[in-house]
């Protein structure tokens, strides 16, 4: 890979790994969601995310030019090579926490993908346009679920409050620009994440008010996921489950 292409590869891994890790976590609900209708909806969302993964990691593999495929990147990399947000790799918790995480992520994805449609990289712009349609539906669904549970019973409100308190320190990582982000902004591939933050915060505040929940104070952020510097101890366990088949039977297809 050309050194000039490295930031783009890194950028694409971040998009793809977010979709992959969230997709896998969401798929863990398959068969065990609280009711049948939500079970199917969660499985649909997981499949959307895996579809997005194929687009991002497929392009990443092309940019890398090392003969690896999207599948190779998904199933044969180890923890330290993953570039997903920490928020997406932590265990699902209860149904409420899963929905809160989905909402916090969707509220970021919608303005982010909207702006990526203007990318100077036409492939990035095309992938973003395709993913945005799904992200808009996901945000519609997750925000209404967060409102329904937050503004539901005393028990559901308490659980959503706990979910928000748990996830909040992980949300700061989303908007911390680093060298890769600045390189992408300079090249016109993507806007800076710090420019997306006010849009995200506006959506989050609007929904939390309707959900009878309070925006947590403090901006301490757990970081290290999207840079690959330090993942939580949970990602390795998740990958062990997700990758076991390819690791045990290399090259297996069906």
């Amino acid at each position: 890979m050309d050194a000039a292409q490295k930031p783009l590869f890194e950028f694409l891994l971040r998009q793809g790994d977010n979709a992959l890790v969230l997709g896998h976590r969401t798929s863990e609900w398959c068969g065990v969601a609280p009711i049948l209708e939500e079970d199917i909806a969660l499985a649909n969302m997981a499949l959307d995310q895996i579809g997005q993964t194929q687009l991002w990691l497929g392009y990443a593999a092309e940019v890398e030019g090392a003969g690896r495929s999207a599948d190779d990147l998904a199933f044969l990399r180890d923890v330290y090579d993953f570039r997903n947000l920490l928020m997406l790799e932590v265990p699902n918790g209860d149904f409420g926490r899963t929905q809160m995480r989905q909402f916090l992520y969707d509220a970021f994805q919608v303005p982010w993908l909207t702006q990526l449609q203007n990318s100077t990289d036409t492939r990035v712009a095309e992938i973003a346009a395709k993913c945005l349609k799904e992200a808009l539906y996901h945000l519609d669904r997750s925000s209404h679920t967060v409102i329904a549970l937050g503004d539901g019973t005393a028990e559901s409100n308490k659980r959503m409050d706990e979910a928000l308190a748990f996830l909040w320190p992980y949300s700061g990582e989303v908007f911390v620009d680093d060298e890769t982000d600045h390189a992408m902004a300079t090249a016109g591939v993507a806007p800076l994440l710090s420019e997306i933050k006010p849009l995200w915060l506006e959506t989050v505040q609007t929904v939390l008010v309707q959900a009878c929940l309070t925006l947590p104070e403090g901006d301490y952020a757990q970081k290290g996921g999207r840079t690959g510097f330090r993942h939580t101890e949970h990602l390795g366990h998740m990958l062990a489950v997700m990758q076991t088949l390819q690791r045990s039977y290399p090259g297996a297809t069906w």
């Binding site: 009711i35 049948l36 209708e37 939500e38 199917i40 909806a41 649909n44 669904r141 209404h144 329904a148």
Partner: protein, 96 residues
């Protein structure tokens, strides 16, 4: 049996790619009408079946009783002249 902790049942009608009318496709549980639309989208339109969704709370539907089948439907059986099969419909009329 208590149903107070269960979401109400909704009947789902989908208008497909082909055809002018909404057809009953099944039912599902949801907290309210908007939630029912979203659930219907995920449960019944996963394979690109629909262009429009209607939902109606199952208990709002008034149905004819099976035991009234005779008096309700039998009298029309021998009135074949009510079928418009004896007419030629001009092409310009289009869909009826």
């Amino acid at each position: 049996m208590s149903h107070q902790n269960e979401w109400p049942l909704w009947e789902v009608f989908i208008r497909g790619q082909h055809g002018m009318s909404h057809r009953h496709v099944g039912s599902l549980h949801a907290a309210d009408a908007e939630h029912a639309i979203r659930n219907a989208r995920d449960v019944y339109t996963r394979r690109n079946e629909g262009v429009s969704i209607w939902v109606v709370e199952a208990e709002k539907i008034t149905a004819s009783s099976p035991s009234d089948k005779g008096p309700l439907f039998d009298p029309s059986r021998d009135k074949v002249y009510r079928h418009p099969t004896f007419y030629d419909i001009p092409d310009e009329v289009g869909k009826m």
